[in-house]
């Protein structure tokens, strides 16, 4: 087997394993989803049900809920594997840990981020999202939730063996730009401005974040090990 092929197989093995595992355990993708919808429901309960008011808040509320849901679900990335010894096995497999992190981030996004996109579709009806903002909302959430998965992986790796709330405290301040840019996309679309410039910036952050944050996560795993 040549080198490239082995790396890809390693990536595929981890990804497939994580996906199969989360389909076996419904909670892994149900809990963030339900959490998201509950948070969305809390806002009209707290702020009143006046349509125009809710519709101005809608994009921000959806974004905050998505942020919390995806950062609180980091438990499944490394902690469970650490507890049952699987992470040990991964690290001593002789395969690059960087690829492992990449596969785990992708799996985490597929399991939590992608369902959130669907749930946000439902929540646009709850919060009366203004017409024509669906596309900017979905595309900004698509890129934003992946960035959040990357950040969440870093937080999860730094707090291996600890609670998810600690990793949220560490990572939430760093996620401010993602939230601002994500909401900026929608706000500028609402004002009829060109929102692609913000999307490009989100894309640039993804391009730097995928290698950069995965590298930092790899380092964080090793810190927890020796």
């Amino acid at each position: 087997m040549n080198e490239k092929n082995t790396l890809f197989n390693w990536f595929k093995l981890v990804l497939k394993r994580d996906l199969v595992l989360s389909f076996k355990k419904i909670a892994t993708f149900m809990v963030p989803l339900v959490f998201f919808l509950i948070v969305i429901t809390l806002f009209p309960l707290a702020l009143g049900t006046e349509g125009s008011f809710l519709s101005t808040l809608s994009s921000g509320v959806i974004w905050v809920a998505a942020l919390l849901a995806s950062l609180l679900a980091v438990e499944s990335i490394f902690n469970e594997d650490y507890r049952d010894g699987t992470l040990d096995q991964f690290l001593i497999s002789g395969e690059p840990t960087f690829i492992l992190v990449l596969a785990k981030v992708l799996a985490h996004w597929l399991v939590t981020g992608a369902p959130l996109l669907l749930a946000s579709l439902i929540s646009t009806f709850f919060l009366y999202l203004p017409e024509g903002l669906l596309f900017p909302l979905l595309i900004s959430l698509l890129m934003g939730t992946f960035l959040l998965s990357l950040l969440g992986a870093l937080g999860g790796a730094l707090t291996i063996g600890k609670t998810a709330i600690l990793s949220a405290v560490i990572v939430l301040p760093l996620s401010v730009p993602i939230l601002i840019l994500g909401v900026a996309v929608i706000t500028s679309a609402l004002n009829g401005q060109d929102f692609f410039s913000y999307l490009y910036f989100l894309g640039a952050m993804l391009a730097i974040g995928i290698p950069g944050l995965c590298l930092a996560t790899t380092e964080a795993i090793f810190i927890n090990y020796d």
């Binding site: 301040p173 730009p177 380092e219």
Partner: protein
């Protein structure tokens, strides 16, 4: 020459030598820093001219600006030492991080509180969602995150390196945070409060301010040296040189 610098740097990196060096410097450096700080504060609060727009309220600047500068520069220092701690695994760099984080958080908090106290009479409100205030608040949260991270890890060296990693990542993200907060400002413009421009400074105003900044920095270094000394003693308590040092202390 290069070898000499190298030797000096290595000697600084070793805890016992640093301890000795710090113990020598502190007894005279600490009084001097107090002196500089008092000079700056007394000059600024007692003798600098009154601002024609804001009156005497502006004098809070002599605390507010230095602590805001320190809050930011301590984070930068932490990132630099964090980098050193990650790459060369220098023990002392990790200890620096641990001693600096609470100090940085305190100065950021002082900047926020003094800003609020300043804001009440000038803007008529304790808090304004202005770009600079918001970034400072986020900086405070970053400090809080770092402190809660290393205090939750039992193994000290692991804690140091985890905190180093997050401060290095943070320092890369901070410019992005600032930039995005600026955008956020331009997108949402609800503020009915226009921020009154900082008092235009005459030399007899900014000279005491400069002395205050220098005074704050020197106080910072005194506190840092002292907390580092304590941290070194705690960490190296099982080594022979610490035992010897403590025995000598008891005899005296």
């Amino acid at each position: 020459m290069i070898n000499l610098i190298k030797k000096w740097l290595i000697s600084l990196g070793s805890p016992p030598l640093f301890f000795k060096w710090a113990s020598k410097i502190l007894p005279w450096f600490f009084p001097i820093s107090i002196l500089i700080l008092l000079t700056g504060l007394i000059w600024g609060i007692g003798f600098a001219p009154t601002d024609y727009k804001q009156g005497d309220v502006y004098r809070i600047i002599f605390i507010h600006v230095p602590s805001a500068i320190l809050g930011q520069s301590i984070y930068l220092m932490m990132a630099i030492f964090g980098f050193i701690c990650l790459i060369w695994r220098a023990k002392l760099a990790g200890m620096f991080l641990r001693s600096a984080a609470p100090i940085g958080a305190s100065f950021t908090l002082i900047a926020l509180v003094s800003g609020a106290v300043w804001g009440k009479p000038t803007w008529g409100t304790w808090w304004v969602w202005d770009a600079r205030l918001t970034s400072t608040l986020i900086l405070f949260f970053l400090y809080a995150g770092i402190i809660s991270l290393y205090s939750s890890i039992d193994n000290k060296q692991k804690g140091d390196r985890a905190a180093s990693l997050i401060s290095v990542v943070g320092v890369i993200i901070i410019p992005i945070i600032k930039k995005s907060v600026d955008w956020w400002q331009t997108l949402h413009q609800p503020s009915t409060f226009t921020i009154t421009s900082a008092p235009s400074m005459t030399p007899d105003m900014y000279l005491p301010l400069l002395i205050c900044v220098i005074g704050f920095y020197s106080i910072l270094f005194s506190i840092l040296l002292n907390t580092l000394r304590a941290e070194i003693l705690i960490r190296e308590r099982n080594t022979s040189w610490v035992r010897q040092f403590l025995n000598n202390q008891i005899k005296e």
